[in-house]
């Protein structure tokens, strides 16, 4: 299909700007690189940062997977996949294992990623300190000085008040022991997958005009205290469809009496497990 637009929508100057910024982001793990975010044909807050990163990465040989909430079939994931199908003509897949580039919102796939895969996160608010300090001039200085006392105080106050750190998603991490970083609004269940990941992870915040990266095999620690170690969510249930007991579960209301059922949020993981089970049975 011919379109009046360049391959992957962005012009080459814009791609070069993004690529230079991405290389600096990788060279300074967890540091937010300002970049000349462009106005994309999808709204800010709907993945424009991730889309720009993906556009800077994609080539004709790539196989792209896009997930939102862990699912390939949520409307915004479908729309972003449709966009790249249209402006780059790349192959797309729903299978994590088959993808060379995975763009995600709010989840990390359950099956471990490989060295030859790239994970691109959509980030609404790249600054982990923003809710504690709205002024960018101040938070920049805190990062420069590695002064993260404000965050530690917040977490400590949580413990004093609730007996817990009351953050369940977008749980802050320290990258390579230097920069306090937002993992994007993934549930803290996914935080351990960030630590020493074989795959390079790239983060794009379009509206806030920042990029950052976590290189492979990089130390990523979720903030915690010695007497309050970091813990992930656990369920009493298994997935009602595939029986998985190790995946992040969505709670689904199935009738008007409020009956609940729990199913995998990672739809590819769930369907692969069910396919495998069917094969074994046959």
């Amino acid at each position: 299909m011919s379109t009046p637009y360049n391959f992957a929508f962005l012009d080459e100057n814009t791609k070069r700007m993004l690529r230079r910024a991405l290389l600096k982001a990788v060279a300074i793990p967890g540091y937010q690189v300002p970049f000349g975010s462009r106005e994309m044909p999808l709204p800010y807050g709907w993945g424009t940062g991730g889309i720009q990163v993906t556009a800077a990465l994609l080539g004709p040989d790539d196989v792209l997977k896009v997930i939102d909430q862990g699912a390939d079939d949520t409307t915004n994931a479908v729309n972003i996949r449709r966009f790249f199908g249209r402006v780059a003509g790349v192959a797309t897949t729903e299978r994590t294992a088959d993808a060379s580039v995975i763009q995600t919102r709010h989840r990390i796939p359950e099956i471990p990623l490989r060295e030859d895969q790239l994970l691109v996160f959509q980030v609404p608010e790249p600054e982990p300190l923003r809710t504690l300090e709205p002024r960018e001039a101040e938070t920049r200085t805190m990062h420069a000085l590695a002064d993260y006392g404000l965050m530690h105080v917040k977490l400590y106050e949580d413990i004093a008040q609730y007996g817990h750190i009351a953050t369940s998603y977008d749980y802050p991490v320290m990258v390579d022991g230097r920069y306090l970083t937002s993992p994007s609004p993934i549930p803290k269940f996914d935080n351990p997958k960030l630590d020493r990941s074989p795959a390079l992870m790239l983060f794009g915040a379009g509206r806030e005009k920042r990029l950052y990266a976590i290189p492979p095999y990089t130390r990523v620690e979720s903030l915690a205290f010695d007497d309050h170690p970091f813990e992930i969510q656990r369920w009493e249930h298994h997935c009602a469809l595939c029986g998985a007991g190790d995946s992040y579960l969505d709670e689904v209301v199935v009738d008007d009496r409020g009956t609940r059922m729990f199913v995998c949020s990672d739809t590819d993981y769930c369907s692969q497990r069910r396919d495998d089970a069917t094969e074994e049975a046959a």
């Binding site: 462009r38 949520t74 409307t75 469809l241």
Partner: protein
């Protein structure tokens, strides 16, 4: 048996069909032509060009039609298109003092050289709905020809050294906010660029707040002028400027009282607003907010929202704001689930604690 929801692709396709149908409406009614929009909705076109940061009346008209008259959607369409346009160069600074003026008013002097020129304004229309077809337009003859050049009102004060001097030659090379991210603190040229692209409604509210005590601004409308200005570029290979066309602009220069401070003597100070097409409300609001954001430079106490540059500049853009406010309708069920489980844990703890107390 529960089946995971599928069919996002098909749902989107159907939604697009419904949208196309709703946008077009009854096909017995002729579709709007772009020339009609460009001519008869020219103020809407001007706003879309201004906040879309692209001076092209035809594209703005197309965007308004495609957006079914939703101005912010039309602005968004134009911005997204603009991203794909190559940049051939930068124009020379526009010479608004050489504007071919069609409207020019000053609130600070009863009369000024060149006169007060009302031009095509809604100001004195009395806002009575005019039922029936609008009167066929006739060519309006001017009572007397307008002066070919009109000195800017503020230049008259400048001659008397009563108003702060500005030396455009000393301005640093401005950053281009469509290419480089906004950084804080932002200099005045960058702030003005942001305000120029900013949402008219947001700026209007901010400007209004400065008049109601949230920042002491004491403004006077020194001059508002609207008309046509030549656009010049200076290609490197030529070495001299050539005219590539003209655009319609509205410029507002506010005059603000200033008692001195931060090493600056008592004098009038300036607030500046500029808008593509006829955009007087926007230009005036912009000028007021420009002035309030100069508080640091002039040593004024900063306590009001309209004096806080991070607050104003980070929230002025309606494409950013609209996207982020509306992204809340995207699924968030993974994070919601995380919050649910946290809340259940906290509630269980509280019940347990209450039970322990009751026993004790």
């Amino acid at each position: 048996m529960y089946v995971a929801v599928k069919g996002g692709e098909r749902a989107i396709a159907r939604s697009l069909e419904l949208l196309a149908e709703a946008r077009r409406g009854d096909t017995a009614v002729p579709e709007l032509e772009l020339a009609q929009i460009r001519q008869q909705l020219r103020l809407g076109v001007a706003r879309v060009m201004q906040e879309g940061s692209l001076y092209d009346e035809d594209l703005a008209a197309l965007a308004i039609r495609q957006a079914a008259g939703d101005m912010q959607e039309a602005i968004f369409l134009l911005r997204a298109y603009r991203t794909t346009l190559p940049r051939f160069g930068y124009s020379e600074p526009l010479a608004t003092q050489a504007m071919r003026v069609r409207r020019r008013v000053s609130g600070t002097f009863k009369d000024v050289p060149g006169g007060q020129v009302l031009g095509p304004t809604y100001d004195y229309t009395q806002r009575l709905l005019e039922f029936g077809a609008s009167a066929a337009s006739n060519t309006v003859e001017a009572d007397e020809p307008l002066a070919t050049t009109m000195p800017r009102v503020l230049d008259l004060l400048d001659a008397e050294a009563l108003i702060e001097r500005i030396d455009p030659g000393s301005d640093p090379e401005p950053t281009d906010l469509t290419r480089d991210p906004l950084m804080f603190p932002a200099d005045r040229a960058t702030r003005l660029q942001n305000l120029a692209r900013g949402d008219e409604g947001f700026l209007l509210g901010m400007a209004y707040s400065t008049q109601r005590g949230y920042a002491e601004s004491h403004p006077f409308a020194g001059e508002i002028r609207m008309g046509e200005v030549d656009v010049l570029i200076c290609p490197e290979e030529l070495g001299f400027a050539i005219e590539i066309g003209e655009i319609t602009l509205t410029e507002c220069q506010m005059i603000n009282q200033f008692h001195g401070g931060n090493g600056v003597p008592p004098q009038f100070t300036r607030g500046y607003g500029l808008s593509m097409g006829e955009g007087e409300r926007k230009a005036m609001a912009m000028a007021l907010v420009d002035r309030s954001l100069r508080c640091d430079e002039l040593g004024e106490p900063a306590y009001a929202p309209a004096q806080n540059q991070e607050f104003v500049l980070s929230h002025s853009d309606n494409v950013e704001a609209s996207g982020f406010v509306q992204h809340l309708k995207l699924p968030h069920y993974v994070d919601f689930q995380a919050e649910l489980s946290l809340l259940r844990t906290l509630a269980a703890q509280q019940r347990k604690a209450a039970g322990t107390e009751a026993l004790a």
